[in-house]
């Protein structure tokens, strides 16, 4: 049956959390009430749009997009737009500068600059219905490969495309496959790394939630190319919805004969299994991940032998990231040449980034390689909210680093980012504004890596602890002359002496912060000042008597009874009781709570 209108309702984890399913039920009710069931259908899609503005709804073919939907909006929306054909302006995206509502999805700046390859089915299909995926060329590449290409041709195509691993290191995918194909041994395995341990990153979850079949198809093609017949998808347990969609996708693909024995009658068999991780960052490292699947203690081991030589159950294993796999089918369908024309000299194709932090349009972004960070932050991201000043972008999570304002015109490319002290990583991009203290931020990452270090190498285990101790001292105002130099020395030592990527990169956040924001470290050490007013031991809270209206809200909220004052009279904060929780500052409507340096030197 053909429908007049399709309602693409985003049902990713984030939108569900803000009530997308309630909205869905309400729309269904309303459609029924107006007897429109035969004309309009709701399609639950994954990861469709600006993730901060959920629940979102896209009306096709009108290309109209609605944001921040509430149940009460629905009757009006259905009646106005779907019945009378008058789009509802009040629910649309408002342009941050012109303040005009923007009606069409593709006119929104956030969307305009994106180029969708990995996320080709984003917001277009119901991820739980394989038919919709097939209608949009899903599994066409697999059929093409099985019917008309030899494994060697497939590998050549991937090599020609210039596709590099999207999991962090950027190793050329075609070469990896080639090595694995050449190694003797059977059976062979393919593994999809969906552990996504980087805090502040959600690309892999979104790809799976939007289009699980893209990953499965890529894995099947890869398995054919290297001669494997079994695959594992290692996914973190924190992603229940993605796990559910993936498991369902596997069942459906099996029903359609697109997975399992003798796929499409071509004599090639491939089985995929979902394996659930249990929350350990180090399990994203490939050797540790394989040990985890074997239920061994998930500690990384030295390479070589590489997984391609001796991987899962000591058999040749090819491991790639979710996004890498999701690119494969597109390359086969449209050709290596097409793919290699996108991007820069060394980095081909597109990259999915999860843009988050202090930014107006947080969300999932797929852009061609080579786009500048400035375009990412200002054009796509829409700048910094609340009129704050931009400070830095953190790229690559705990293995990456910060890129300051002065380097914003850097094109995104594996090599260029590395030169700036950051890494491409898996694509987590967290924007921080002037209210973030770079010392504290560096400390944050060390707390993380210190906690997640598996403890095997002394340099990583003890080195992260020692660096953390120094940073903690600095944030407490007890920093000493020479701390910075010692941090740098220690950071380099840990880099060199550790066995796996976790240890080899854990000092990056500190070193890059030292490279670009050395003055902030010096302010903490020499003048005992925190320029961003974050480090508690270096600041005091007080109330500006001229601004305070005496509403008493802060007094009520203060958990430490540190605020005194009479109603309608300016209040005061008693510094000796104040625990610097900041609740008063959050609750003050008059913005009367101010931060000052504790030590005026």
């Amino acid at each position: 049956m053909a429908y007049r209108t399709n309602l693409m309702l985003c049902t990713c984890t984030m939108c569900v959390s803000v009530g997308a399913l309630k909205i869905k039920r309400k729309i269904e009710e309303e459609i029924k009430r107006h007897n429109l069931e035969d004309e309009i259908q709701i399609i639950p899609v994954g990861s469709s749009w600006l993730c901060t503005r959920g629940p979102t709804l896209i009306v096709q073919p009108d290309d109209v997009v609605y944001q921040f939907l509430k149940e009460d909006d629905i009757p009006h929306l259905v009646e106005e737009h779907l019945l009378k054909g008058r789009p509802v302006k009040s629910l649309m995206y408002i342009h941050p500068e012109t303040l005009h509502p923007i009606e069409k999805l593709h006119q929104i700046p956030f969307y305009r600059q994106q180029r969708l390859i990995t996320l080709r089915n984003r917001g277009m299909i119901d991820p739980d219905k394989i038919e919709e995926c097939i209608a949009r060329d899903g599994y066409k590449a697999l059929a093409k490969v099985l019917k008309s290409m030899t494994p060697e041709e497939v590998i050549q195509e991937i090599k020609d495309s210039g596709l590099r691993g999207r999991g962090g290191a950027g190793f050329p995918t075609g070469r990896k496959w080639e090595v694995c194909r050449a190694v003797k041994g059977s059976p062979k395995y393919v593994v999809c790394n969906a552990d996504e341990g980087d805090p502040g990153a959600f690309m892999d979850r979104s790809i799976i939630e939007a289009d699980p079949h893209a990953v499965l198809e890529g894995m099947a093609i890869g398995a054919y190319a290297i001669g494997a017949s079994e695959g594992y998808i290692y996914i973190r347990i924190e992603y229940p919805l993605a796990i559910k969609r993936l498991e369902r996708a596997i069942l459906e693909a099996r029903d359609y004969g697109l997975l399992g024995e003798n796929i499409l009658g071509a004599g090639f068999s491939f089985e995929a299994h979902v394996f659930k991780g249990a929350g350990a960052f180090v399990c994203g490292e490939e050797t540790s991940l394989l040990a985890s699947i074997e239920s061994k203690p998930p500690e990384p081991r030295t390479r070589p032998p590489y997984p391609a030589q001796s991987g899962l159950w000591e058999k040749p294993t090819n491991i790639n990231n979710v996004e890498t796999w999701a690119n494969v089918a597109a390359i086969i369908n449209q050709g290596a040449k097409w793919f290699s024309e996108i991007g820069t000299e060394t980095s081909k194709g597109t990259k999915v980034f999860s843009l988050a932090g202090n930014i107006n349009n947080a969300g999932l972004v797929e852009v061609p390689m080579g786009i500048t960070l400035r375009e990412m932050v200002y054009d796509i991201g829409g700048g910094i909210p609340n009129g704050k000043k931009f400070k830095a972008v953190q790229i690559g999570g705990p293995s990456g680093g910060v890129v300051p304002d002065s380097l914003l015109d850097l094109p995104i490319d594996y090599e260029r980012l590395q030169e700036a002290g950051a890494i491409m990583g898996s694509g987590g991009m967290v924007v921080v504004d002037e209210d973030t203290c770079m010392v504290d931020f560096a400390k944050y990452f060390l707390i993380f890596t210190n906690d997640e270090s598996c403890g095997k190498c002394t340099s990583c285990r003890e080195g992260s602890a020692a660096m953390l101790e120094i940073l903690t001292r600095i944030t407490e105002g007890k920093g000493e002359e020479g701390d910075i130099e010692f941090l740098e020395e220690l950071g380099e030592a840990v880099k060199e002496a550790s066995q796996c990527g976790l240890g080899q990169t854990l000092s990056n956040p500190v070193l890059s912060a030292l490279m670009h924001f050395r003055d902030e470290f010096e302010a903490h050490i020499k003048y005992k000042k925190c320029p961003a007013f974050v480090c508690k031991d270096l600041i005091t809270y007080s109330i500006d008597p001229d601004k305070c209206t005496g509403c008493g809200l802060c007094l009520k909220q203060c958990p430490a009874d540190a605020i005194t004052g009479k109603l309608k009279k300016p209040h005061q904060i008693d510094d000796s009781n104040c625990i610097k929780c900041g609740v008063c500052r959050d609750s003050c409507k008059a913005k009367a709570v101010i931060l000052k340096d504790r030590f005026d030197k």
Binding site: L50, P240, A356, G455, E462, P559, D586
Partner: protein, 304 residues
């Protein structure tokens, strides 16, 4: 004037105390026999991560001593050995030592550990006392399913722990002992895996587990202040459970919902754009109404 040192000393027990005694004696010129019941010296310290009170790495202190003991010309190691009889008096003892066979040529063994890994009869080296694990009928029923699914399968431990965790919402000790027996896996391995991952807890959890995201995006938007607010409001530190077993407080590094940062998750309800000032309200809403779990509940009540 130096007195001539004569005679030899037997040190019984090759733990850190025995090793240090042997080294000190040997350095002062005595011939030392170091007898140890187990197949190797090192004792308990070799199994420790850190030592009290300095938190020094245990192995870093011990390892050089092990090497010097092994190489010291004045020390003779007698491992796999037990003292059978001791006669004589101070200055002139006669000891008879029973040395158990090792079945390995000590001069050739490099200690690579491969044979241990591949030995089909595990636990043979350190026979542990068998602890009888008794489970109630309900537990047995639950475990039967898990055991039949995973017995004799490779790589079954982690999935099995997941299943147990779903059933109990933590990993009870007797259950871990039980599956160690039934799946024929060393208990040490079961514990190692169970304690490695953040998703597992060995302590019972509260009725509601409050997970505060401390991922990067949530951190820069004030995640740590939310944690502190919860700590104050509940009177517990992160990683603990309130006495009435109502609330457990934990942090997690990223739910993958960074667009909604800062994020708090209570059981399966996710609250985006959370603020520290909402903490009391959230706790109250769970203490009062028995709520239906499930993502759908959303943050209708508390979102502000």
């Amino acid at each position: 004037m130096e007195e001539k040192i004569r005679g030899s000393v037997l040190v019984v027990g090759g733990g850190i105390a025995g090793i240090q005694a042997a080294l000190d004696l040997a350095d002062s010129g005595f011939k030392v026999y170091l007898a140890e019941k187990g197949p190797s010296i090192g004792g308990v310290m070799a199994q420790l991560d850190k030592t009290f009170p300095t938190n020094d790495c245990a192995m870093c202190i011990l390892a050089p001593k092990l090497v010097s003991t092994g190489r010291h010309p004045n020390i003779k190691l007698i491992t796999n050995a037990e003292i059978e009889e001791l006669t004589g008096k101070a200055g002139n003892f006669t000891v008879s030592v029973k040395k158990n066979p090792r079945y390995v040529d000590e001069s050739k063994c490099t200690g690579c550990g491969l044979c241990v890994e591949n030995c089909p009869v595990r636990k043979a080296i350190y026979p542990v006392e068998k602890v009888e694990v008794k489970l109630g009928p309900q537990d047995l029923e639950r475990m039967k399913k898990i055991i039949t699914e995973y017995k004799n399968k490779e790589g079954a431990l982690l999935p099995a722990l997941h299943d147990i965790n779903i059933g109990y919402s933590y990993l009870p000790e007797n259950i871990l002992r039980y599956i160690s027996e039934e799946l024929d896996l060393p208990l040490s391995l079961v514990y190692q895996i169970a304690t490695f991952y953040n998703a597992f807890s060995l302590k019972p959890k509260g009725k509601y587990t409050i997970n505060v995201c401390m991922g990067t995006a949530c951190y820069v938007k004030g995640g740590n202040r939310i944690v502190e607010s919860f700590e104050r409001a509940l009177g517990i530190k992160v990683g603990n459970t309130t006495e009435d077993l109502m609330f457990g407080l934990e942090t997690i590094s990223c739910f993958g919902c960074c667009g909604q940062a800062p994020v708090v998750v209570v059981n399966e309800d996710l609250y985006g754009h959370f603020r520290a000032t909402k903490v009391p309200q959230l706790i109250k809403s769970y203490s009062e109404t028995p709520k239906k779990a499930g993502m759908e509940v959303g943050n209708a009540e508390v979102k502000g």
